[in-house]
Symmetry: C2
Subunit: 291 residues, 2 copies
């Protein structure tokens, strides 16, 4: 899903992710290595790009929004490290590389995830923005990444393993597990621009739909892709008896649903007019990748 949107900001995001790492000395040097390893292994940077895109769309200064963008990617990265741990999904590979706990041992992977999560909020605090906006960003990140958001989704996901869930139950999990942080990325961009509530509401609607489209895409790729492209073993959902859109709806209907949610996401951008074209193209590229 390479797109103009993610390419446009790629260099600045990469730089910001490194800038906010701890010092390369003593104990923090070890953590820097663990944190940097997972931050570096070729993610698509979708979330930070969304933060910058919404900041720009709402008339803000993307340079000042970079810490917000980086903070979201730190949270996303910690969640992948903890997700891969043996007591969670027990995945040895991530993005074509050994998972953090395979590379550094379980204890360091656990602590590296904790360090990324802890640092994310410090990065928000370092933004060159009015304190009142930073406090709103801290509140939003804590909410969307926490027990009422992303972590809540992981809890439901674990609780559903081995059970047969309905498509609606699956959707509820994905709204939290994947959707909450995507929503947070979009909202943080709006907050950085001190956007009015109608724009924030539009960003939320866009993110809700995109988050579900995103997860359906993941489920589809798990059965249609090969492990070289995917960077992890295919078929792991089936192996882990995971409920997926494909297992619930079949491949053809899953594809239809993915297209429907992508269209909803694009529609939510109407109030931004032509300025949102690159975001529309980004959402559209999702479907393109699957065809």
């Amino acid at each position: 899903m390479s797109s103009l949107l993610t390419e446009q900001y790629a260099d600045r995001i990469r730089e910001a992710l490194t800038d906010f790492l701890p010092e390369d000395e003593g104990a923090s040097g070890v953590m820097r290595q663990v944190m940097n390893y997972s931050l570096s292994v070729g993610g698509k940077r979708v979330r930070p790009a969304l933060t910058l895109a919404f900041c720009e769309l709402c008339g803000g200064d993307t340079e000042k929004a970079l810490p917000f963008a980086a903070a979201v990617e730190y949270i996303h990265t910690y969640s992948l490290i903890h997700d891969d741990l043996p007591c969670m999904d027990d995945d040895d590979m991530r993005r074509g590389q050994p998972s953090s706990h395979i590379r550094f041992g379980e204890a360091n992977a656990l602590l590296g995830g904790d360090a990324l999560l802890t640092r994310a909020f410090g990065i928000l605090a370092a933004a060159d923005l009015p304190p009142a906006l930073i406090v709103r960003a801290v509140d939003a990140l804590s909410l969307y990444a926490g027990a009422d958001g992303m972590i809540g989704g992981q809890v439901l996901d674990l609780a559903g393993e081995g059970k047969t869930l309905s498509a609606d139950e699956l959707k509820q999990i994905d709204i939290l597990k994947t959707g909450a942080l995507i929503k947070c990325a979009c909202v943080l961009g709006c907050i950085a621009a001190d956007a009015p509530w109608e724009q924030i509401a539009a960003a939320e609607n866009f993110a809700d739909a995109l988050g579900i489209a995103f997860q359906i895409q993941d489920d589809i790729l798990d059965v249609t892709s090969d492990s070289a492209t995917l960077g992890k073993p295919v078929g792991s959902d089936e192996k882990n008896q995971k409920n997926t859109y494909v297992s619930r709806l079949g491949l053809a209907r899953a594809r239809e649903e993915e297209a429907r949610y992508t269209a909803m996401a694009i529609e939510a951008l109407d109030i931004f007019g032509d300025a949102a074209d690159s975001l529309r193209a980004f959402a559209g590229a999702l479907s393109g990748r699957l065809s």
Copy 2:
């Protein structure tokens, strides 16, 4: 180490810790249970009491500092949950109760720790204090709890297992592992009161000395106490081949060192005059407990 200081604030702290839990429904209901279990099992609440004590000492409103106090205890509690996990210290008991992963399973314990850590920053953001002070608190908590602070100490601690460390190396670990969060608790109280830098510096000196005294005390209790009093098996440090002050210095010299650092902590409070008497008594009670 029951003391007037911790008793004085106990009710308000207990209430605040519960107030900031997520809703009791759905996925967050599960996390609420996991988080509340570890928050409730009878900690001494030393850290939040220090936050409130320093806020009061610096002329601030302790009611408004309660979220800062609760946030520090959330961080402390998450660190205990993750510390007890099999890939870390592998402790089945904590404060006389089954550890979180024994009670709820490893995945929920991991996620419950993540949820406490994530929530801590949201609690800071909810404080009824000027945004500029909240941003300083977020910055401080992220720094002291992160790779350059508490987590850095855990990394050094793990790296030192099975090796023979000098007393100085041990001290460096403790300054980070135990001291950083105690320091953070004191500093957050000062920030809540918008205290001048001399008072913050005094709080830091107090915390540095107290943190080391605290850790020496822990090491001494691991060999002199019984498991009913301690709430966990005694001798676990020796079992895990941990470097402790007792193993390095012997019991008698460890006791001397503990008294020396306690005296340093008390001395750091000089600039506060008589107003700091309850804090002096609190630090003194440390030694009392050991005699």
